[in-house]
Amino acid sequence: MEFSSRETWTVIHGLVLGTLFLLAFAGGLAGLWSMRPGLMTTEGIKERMGRLYIGAWVMAAAAWAAVITGTWIVYPWYRVKLAPVGEDAYAGCVDAILPNAACSPRDFLKSNVSGETEMWHIFGMEWKEHVSWAAPILATAAAFLIAYYGPRLIARPWLRAAVIVMFVAAFAAALVGGAFGAFLNKIAPIV
């Protein structure tokens, strides 16, 4: 029972960092949602704010780590051109049922050698690789706002709603990346 180096990195990128991001998001959203006047005692505010600060910054850090490992470590393995032989761009993918040493995941998907798979790259991967970078930017901005105003967000419902919008937008961007990442790794795993 072992993982190859590539499998280890895909696990770190998607499963470990993705799970951490999700956990921090869920906790952070619950914390932000309950920051309303009259719901907490002063002691309760002190206790809860510490957790919210940690959750918000962990979410931002997990998002940065996920996009950096995804872009600079995992993505090159996905997109490398292995299949071209002469004029045939996908010669290495002939009869392939999964990506292999002669057919990268991108080659495999674009070759349509195993069904209509090209759209997974053209739509799924192309959107995922770009929009995912919005997640750390928005999560960092939201974390800063939470840290900057702290308990004062309780008294400013409109500002709190704005922070929640940014927080959820960061999650939505990560969701596109995470969902397509999971599907793509199912259809064309990095081996």
């Binding site: 002063t42 997109r79 490398v80 919005a134 800063f144 105003y149 704005a162």
Partner: protein, 131 residues
């Protein structure tokens, strides 16, 4: 939209009396406005670079330069430029507005508008339209 910091502008303890014992110092809204607009600019740049790379081969070559032979392609430049724009815009606006009050609603909507445009720019059916 931009005024000098007025510590008495908000009545947080009046709205939420439970905050009073915490004795919180009021803060100017400028730094918050800075990060709202900067994050929108960062996401907008991401979408702009994604679409420009499709439209213009020179832009794509420039963005590929950031990959330093790591096989990342133009995504290296798109993400690096967007992140740089975010942090530089944040720093510059923060330094300008750190002691100012800036209308947060306007700043948020500017950031939101830029962010929506940026997401549209990263959406494949949109940028592939320029191929």
């Amino acid at each position: 939209m931009i005024t000098d910091f007025d510590p008495g502008r908000h009545d947080d303890e009046g709205v939420a009396p439970e905050l009073a014992p915490l004795d919180l110092a009021d803060k100017p809204d400028g730094p918050a406005a800075a990060v709202m607009i900067a994050s929108g600019l960062g996401v907008f740049t991401l979408g702009l670079m994604t679409t420009l790379a499709v439209i213009n081969g020179s832009v794509k070559s420039f963005l590929e330069w950031f990959q330093f032979d790591q096989g990342v392609g133009a995504l290296a430049g798109k993400s690096t430029v967007a992140v740089l724009v975010f942090f530089v815009a944040w720093l510059v606006l923060y330094l300008i507005w750190r002691e100012k009050d800036v209308v947060l609603k306007t700043s948020f909507y500017i950031g939101l508008g830029l962010g929506i445009l940026g997401v549209i720019g990263t959406f494949p059916p949109f940028f592939e339209w320029f191929e």
